[in-house]
Each structure stands twice: as structure tokens, then as C-alpha cells.
């Protein structure tokens, strides 16, 4: 660190040196255990190499050694902020191979819980993004307050706050408890105002704009080249949202917009994309509650009671669409031989699951295509010639979850 009195210094030539610094794995702002090997020239980043794998838990190996039923419980941990999506991707891939038709009511339930989970994920991102930018105290707590309400709701339906284990192959785990939909509907009514409050603090703040505008510009071509997906890609001007492009589940019945920025995206655009996405998710939840067949839980119970005597498999009132799933049938589930790739639009991008099944109760090979993995790969390109402070702004804006990278 200390330049010695060399010949060059004596000859009045200023000698400068690059500084090699390890940011992480133990660093307050690397969102877990990312290690960045940085070469700094003063405050400028000249080279960056991300080192991942500190959280590797062999999730793919476990997929080959656990039954489908057991594995479903494990993979919520892959992306712990949006566990619904990992379960959903696995369920969709297995259902595709197995040709399972999911009851419509279960599809609606899936969309509702998934969008709630997207909200919780984005809210947590917003709070930590504030921390990354140095808004240490105020901002982080307001999104967490709303997230807490959503997590309470998810806990009431799934049993836990983060490791939901709710979406299953063939349906969902259980029916919503009485009064749940009413609570959720009430929350969605007040939520847009809360988002406006966050925006009042951050969106137009001159310091925030200075820190985010024209920082970490991700050109469209580069984004596609790196396989970046999700809001990060949409902020760079590519309208790739699976919910619109390849509608799955019941997304084609819902009216929502996908925010796309029409230029090369910078940190601010990625921020804005997520803020608008929260509004849209809120809208989706409201529509789902209005559209869900069988009505909210209390109504459904009445309906089921009314026609419980008929006992027909395709009863227009109780059978088919109103059923969610029978829990116990899944324990010994076997998926047909075959292979398939299914993807869902997780809060971070295209979350894909590639399954090769041989018809036994475990998978032959499961490969996860995690959005964070691809999104993180682009980080060295984004950081080049930016300052130390921008590392956190950019890294925060692409919203990487390290367990999702390392699996």
C-alpha cells in the first residue's frame, strides 16, 4: 500500500498502482455470500470477477435422490424470497411431462399466491436497494411493513412465511382459510398508496437520481447475449415476460401491463420497472379474487355442502374446477418417463426447470435455470469503469439472490 521511495519516485514520476480487493463473501451489502474480486484504480473498478458457490447445497443432486413429494418441500429454499415460483416451475415441468390437468381454481390460487410472493420479493428488494444506496434507516422499513402483512397472509394459507411448500404437482396444498380473501382484498386496496409513499421518498429525490441515472447501463444486445431476463431485461427494452409472451396458467385471462423501458436500461429504469410491476401484481391479485371460480372460501364451502350428495366426478358445482387437490395422493407420485422444460416468470426473471424422468418416483436429472445465475454473469460488464459506490447500486438493481445462483 505504501509506495516506497523508488527510483521513479525520486525522479519525480508519480507511481500509481491498482488495488486488489475482495468484496465479500462477508460484506454487509453483497446480499448473502457473493465474493467479488475487484481490481480498483483509486475508486474505479478496472476488473471484476464474481466468485459464487459459497451457498451451494446440491439442489440438483437432491432432486435425483428425493421423491417428487419430498423434493417439492426442499426447493422453496432455492430462491428463498420467492419460493412459490420454484415450486411452481417444478410443478409445471412435472405436470407437462405427466399430462396432468390442474383444476382451474387451483390455477387461480397459484396465481394469487405467486403474485403475492412477487410483491414480497419486490418489497424486500426495494428496502435493500435503499440500503445499498445508503438510505439506511427510513426506506427499508416501510416496504417491510407491507411485506409483513403479505407474509402473514401467506403464512395463514401455506403454514410458513418463507418455505411455503404450497404449490404441488397437480394443484396446491390446501384451501384458503375463511376470511382470507377478504383480508387480501382489503390489503390490495390500500397498497397502491403505500407504493406512492415509497416513491415520494425516493423516485424524484435528486441524490437518488444522481446515483441511479446513467449508472450501470445495460444495452439490449448485451442483455440478450448474457441471457438476462426479468425486470432487468425489460428495463433494457426487451418485452420478454412469460406471463404475456407464453401465457401459462390463467394469465391470459387477466388484464395487466408489462412495464418495458424503450431504451438501454440503467439502474433507474430497473428500479422503475419493479415499482410499476408491483402496481400490476396488485391489479392481478384483485382480478383473481374477483374471477376465482367457486368464489372465496366461505362461499365455496357452502357450494360444496350444497352438492356434496351428488358425488359425480364432473359435477358442475363441486367437481373439476372447484377442487384444489387431494393431499395424500401425492406422496407416492410417479412422473411418466419423458423430459420437459417449463419456465415461470419469477420476480427475477425466467425460472426454468428441466426434468428428465424415467417414470420412477425420483427424477433422473433435474436442472434448474435460475434467473439470478444468468443475471449475475453480466455484473462484471456492468461494473467496468464504475466506482465502488456504484457496485452496490448496480448489484442491487439487478436483484440477485445468492442461494438462487448457487443452488
Amino acid at each position: 500500500m505504501v509506495p516506497e521511495m523508488t527510483e521513479e519516485l525520486r525522479a519525480n514520476k508519480l507511481k500509481t498502482d491498482e488495488m486488489l480487493i475482495n468484496m465479500g463473501p462477508q460484506h454487509p451489502a453483497t446480499h448473502g455470500v457473493l465474493r467479488l474480486i475487484l481490481k480498483l484504480d483509486g475508486e474505479l473498478v478496472k476488473h471484476c470477477e464474481p466468485v459464487v458457490g459459497h451457498l451451494h447445497r446440491a439442489q440438483e443432486w437432491q432432486g435425483q435422490n428425493r421423491t417428487w413429494f419430498q423434493y417439492q418441500a426442499l426447493i422453496d429454499r432455492v430462491d428463498y424470497l420467492s419460493g412459490m415460483f420454484t415450486s411452481w416451475a417444478l410443478a409445471r415441468a412435472a405436470e407437462k411431462i405427466d399430462d396432468v390437468k390442474v383444476p382451474l381454481r387451483a390455477e387461480y390460487m397459484r396465481v394469487i399466491v405467486a403474485e403475492m410472493n412477487r410483491l414480497t420479493s419486490h418489497l424486500l428488494w426495494l428496502g435493500t436497494f435503499g440500503i445499498d444506496l445508503g438510505a439506511m434507516m427510513g426506506l427499508p422499513f416501510y416496504p417491510f411493513r407491507e411485506r409483513e402483512e403479505l407474509l402473514d397472509l401467506l403464512e395463514a394459507i401455506a403454514g410458513q412465511r418463507m418455505m411455503f411448500n404450497y404449490i404441488r404437482i397437480g394443484g396446491v396444498q390446501n384451501e384458503a382459510p375463511p376470511g382470507w380473501f377478504a383480508r387480501l382484498f382489503k390489503f390490495t386496496g390500500s397498497f397502491p398508496d403505500r407504493i406512492d409513499e415509497y416513491e415520494a421518498i425516493l423516485s424524484n429525490n435528486p441524490i437518488f437520481l444522481k446515483r441511479t441515472k446513467a449508472v450501470g447501463i445495460l444495452p439490449r444486445k448485451l442483455a440478450i447475449d448474457y441471457g438476462v431476463t426479468g425486470p432487468t431485461l425489460r428495463a433494457s427494452g426487451v418485452a420478454l415476460d412469460l406471463r404475456k409472451v407464453k401465457p401459462y396458467s390463467v394469465y391470459d385471462r387477466l388484464d395487466f401491463a408489462v412495464p418495458v423501458c424503450n431504451r438501454d436500461g440503467d439502474t433507474y429504469d430497473r428500479y422503475m420497472c419493479r415499482i410499476i410491476e408491483m402496481h400490476e401484481s396488485n391489479k392481478i391479485i384483485r382480478q383473481c379474487i374477483e374471477q376465482i371460480p367457486g368464489g372465496t372460501a366461505d362461499v365455496l364451502r357452502e357450494k360444496r355442502k350444497a352438492c356434496s350428495a351428488c358425488g359425480k366426478a364432473n359435477c358442475p358445482h363441486c367437481g373439476g374446477d372447484l377442487a384444489i387437490m387431494v393431499k395424500k395422493q401425492n406422496a407416492g407420485l410417479r412422473v411418466k418417463a419423458g423430459e420437459g422444460f417449463a419456465a415461470v416468470e419469477s420476480p427475477r426473471g425466467v425460472l426454468g426447470c428441466y426434468i428428465i424422468s424415467t417414470g420412477s418416483d425420483t427424477a433422473y436429472r433435474i436442472k434448474w435455470r435460475n434467473p439470478s445465475f444468468s443475471n449475475l454473469a453480466v455484473l462484471p460488464e456492468l461494473l467496468l469503469d464504475h466506482q465502488i459506490a456504484d457496485i452496490m447500486a448496480i448489484f442491487g438493481s439487478i436483484d440477485v439472490i445468492l442461494p438462487d445462483v448457487d443452488r
Binding site: R66, T67, F69, Q70, Y71, A73, L74, G138, Y142, R145, E148, E155, A156, I157, A158, G159, Q160, M163, N165, Q173, N174, P177, E197, A200, I201, L202, N204, N205, P206, I207, K327, K328, A331
Partner: protein, 197 residues
């Protein structure tokens, strides 16, 4: 020059707006949950510590030693010791061990249980000073009759049918403990792998 002043004024206004928004929050009720003083209200679906329920009415143990939970557990944290009763020829539960240090509270065992015997309670305070203390045996796992009734009501589970057994073969909690005491050799012959910790 004027534009710069305008921008500065705009920035100042926006900063003030942010400050005001934050300041407004000081008039809002705090969201802190004072946990040890005020216990949280947990939903019925909450997956807390595992426990074995008894029949709320008769008090007989609901476990039929079918080992479904043991088989489905992803962590292999359940260890059931049972033997075929020489008198009745039926399975008889000797010991039921759950290593809560290994359990990840996925709730799969409660889903496969045919008699709704193993359930997730709302208890989440289970810290211990050693890992060994986290291994719960049959006695610690079995709920009382009142607790079972409470959880059956809270979780909206169908009420268990009384065991239609001609032979008087009580399997209530206390009796199970007695049978454990009577046959210590059986238990020691089959030590669970986690029991040694």
C-alpha cells in the same frame, strides 16, 4: 443560470417532500411485535413443532405405527420403534423419536398421516442447550387430551374415529410410557442413529 436555480429548487422541494413523508410516519402506530410479552396469533395452518395427538374424546393414542411419516420425511428425522404385539398380532408403538434439530418443518409427515396423529403445533419456542435435547421421544411428543382437542379444532381436522378394537389394548400416552418402561431392552436393542448425539 435560471435553469440551474430551477433545478435546485425542484431538488430542494423533492428532498423536503421525502423528509415530510418520513416525518409523517412518526404519527403512525408502531408495527413492532413485542414477542416475548405478546405472543403472536398464529394461523391454524402454521407449521410449528411436531407433536402426536391423542383422541380428544377417549384419550387413546392415534398413532397406528404405519411408518408413512418416517418414509416421507425428506430429512429422515423421524424414527419409529414398533413391534408386533404377541397378544393381538397388531403393530404396537414402542417409541417415536423426532429429531427437531434436523426437522425442517415441511409438514409432509402431517399430510400423509392417515389418522391425523402427527400434527404441527403452534409452538415455535423450542430452543435447548444441547442438540440431544432437541430429540423428542414419545412422551414429549404426545399431547394431552385438551391440547389435542384444541389443535383438532384449530386445524379444522376431521374428528378421529375411535379404534374399533375388540381386545382392550389401550395405547394412551401414559400407557405408552409404561410400555416403554416395561421393555427397556427393546429400546436399547434398536437405538436410533440420532439417539446417540
Amino acid at each position: 443560470m435560471l435553469g440551474m436555480v430551477g433545478r435546485a429548487a425542484e431538488g430542494f422541494y423533492q428532498v423536503c417532500r421525502g423528509l415530510w413523508t418520513v416525518f409523517k410516519h412518526s404519527g403512525r402506530p408502531p408495527t413492532t411485535k413485542e414477542f416475548p410479552d405478546v405472543m403472536p396469533e398464529l394461523p391454524g395452518a402454521f407449521r410449528g413443532r411436531l407433536a402426536l395427538a391423542v383422541n380428544p374424546e377417549t384419550g387413546e393414542h392415534l398413532c397406528i405405527s404405519c411408518r408413512q411419516c418416517e418414509r416421507v420425511c425428506p430429512d429422515k428425522c423421524i424414527d419409529i420403534t414398533a413391534h408386533k404385539s404377541p397378544q393381538t398380532g397388531k403393530l404396537e408403538l414402542i417409541d417415536f423419536k423426532i429429531d427437531h434439530g434436523l426437522c425442517m418443518f415441511c409438514g409432509l409427515c402431517t399430510e400423509v398421516c392417515p389418522t391425523s396423529c402427527i400434527i404441527n403445533t403452534s409452538d415455535f419456542e423450542m430452543s435447548e442447550y444441547s442438540r440431544g435435547a432437541l430429540i423428542y421421544d414419545l412422551k414429549r411428543l404426545t399431547l394431552s387430551q385438551e391440547e389435542s382437542a384444541y389443535y383438532f379444532a384449530k386445524k379444522d381436522l376431521p374428528p378421529p374415529k375411535p379404534k374399533a378394537k375388540p381386545a382392550p389394548k389401550p395405547e394412551a400416552a401414559g400407557d405408552a410410557g409404561e410400555s416403554l418402561a416395561q421393555q427397556p431392552s427393546d429400546v436399547s436393542q434398536q437405538p436410533g442413529p440420532k439417539a446417540e448425539e
